[in-house]
């Protein structure tokens, strides 16, 4: 599938990620996407930091990028039901539990 960034862009109604710099030649283990300029939320940074339990080699820059991505997901999530105006208590998910014999 095309990248998750497309979804974020579509959600935001803007072109793809505004500020991805050129790749860094020769640094295969370093992230190509640098830390975003804006600061991520404390929640996202906290969650991102916990990813080091899975990969202790994650750099600070990578954690910043992970945090920025988490924030973008949260922001996109808030557009699903803005201010609670669209979904009502009784609206069921597209897939529902069913009893099968």
């Amino acid at each position: 599938m095309p990248t998750r960034k497309f979804f974020i862009a579509a959600a935001a109604g803007v072109p793809l990620l505004a500020a991805s710099p050129a790749p860094t030649p020769g640094k295969t283990s370093a992230p190509r996407t640098p830390a975003p300029k804006s600061k991520s939320s404390a929640l996202a940074r906290e969650f991102a930091a916990r990813m080091r339990r899975f990969d202790p080699a994650l750099s600070d820059k990578q954690l910043d990028t992970i945090a920025a991505g988490i924030d973008e997901n949260l922001k996109a999530g808030s557009r699903i039901n803005p201010e609670g105006r669209v979904l009502k208590n009784w609206d069921e998910p597209a897939t529902t539990f069913e009893v099968r014999e």
Partner: protein, 466 residues
Amino acid sequence: MSEDKLAFADALTLGGMIAKRAISSVELTKLYLSRLERYGKTYGAVVTIMQDRALREARAADRRAAAGDLRGPLHGVPYGVKDLLAAAGAPTTWGAAPYRNQRFDYDATVVRRLKAAGAVLCAKLAMVELAGGFGYNDADASFTGPGRTPWNRNFWSGGSSSGPGAAVAAGLVGFAIGSETNGSIMVPAAFCGVSGLRPTYGRVSRHGAMALMWTSDKLGPMCRSARDAQAVLRAISGADPNDRTAQDRPFPGIGGRRPRIAIVKNATARSQPEVVRNFQASVAVLRSFCEVESNVALPAGPYGAVFGAIFNGECAAAFRDLIESGRSRELQSADDRIGGYQVYGSLAVDYVDGMRRRALLNEALLRAVAPYDAIVYPTLSTVAYPVGVPFDKAYPDKYSGQIEMGSPGNLAGLPSMSVPNGFGQHHLPTGLAFMGRPWGEMQLTQLAKAYQARTRFHLEHPSLAE
């Protein structure tokens, strides 16, 4: 027929030649095996060439043909599958280094069905790692290297079904099977200039396929003609006890009436001028045999946000073991090395609300689509992106309009088809998309066949580089 003409003939032509004994399946299989060997790596199209199995199946197909036991229109025709489908006798790598030695001792249901239809499996074809689930942003996102369109190998083949798109366009197989969660058949079909069909969710069993997003994963044909796509879909569709979403459904056609199509409002917004020109020319062709309604607005989203929330939850669960193992670091794309952690950090409540909003969006979309045999739009707003340039830098003043149509269609599980409709910058192909009602694949392929009967873009093929 010359080697080139044979290689680029469509699958039904090849099947017809085998049925008439004008060529044997073994001869045809040897031709494609040698082309896969010669060109496969050049276009980043191949993971594993399955020579022994292919020749074994081809010999069996020839024996049956000699005995008058033809299994259908694809009998003896060589094909390839995206490397997320299990096939006994070869690794199934999912395009990703952490899985490069993974093997399954069984065939995916689509592979079994194609074998029953007499087709010959020749190759496991390249793909974007994990079908693009972790957020790649450039063509170099597979352990086999970037997929390249045979029209110009400096440009991407599209993804995530990069190998199927390139292999079909380059005449390395008779046809191929790709998969789509959100654009993975339609995008490479457009970038490689082939006829790709994304079936209705549930039309084709996913048993034996890598899961990325259970509620949106589909398998479908990528071919050199719309008629091939129709034939291949018929061969692979149907209920399967191993995939409870797969169903036996009829293939309702358009019948004798004039087809009714809708042109999406702002269909060519933010598109390259050549894409606009080709789309307008395509609409003129469609007007010659269809009732066309212009400026049809689809219900408002937010499709991207809803798709993203659902996708994040399902992708993180599907690859939880990889994410928690820390082996994402072995992935090819720098974005993919951290993308898994980003989806892992999504909220469960966003997933559930995404599924709740999906129900409402789908209801509105189905009402909007119901009066038409197809909704028509340019598959993508640009030609293929250059290899070596991040996608978001490729055409900075543009952005892919496909996803605006792709997410609604994929959220609702609607079928869609992309066919080549001309050439744009750098003589790269552009695509024309038809999106239909649920289970309306026959209507889409009928429309696409009628379009191809009046145009020649699907008959053009690239000159290959060594």
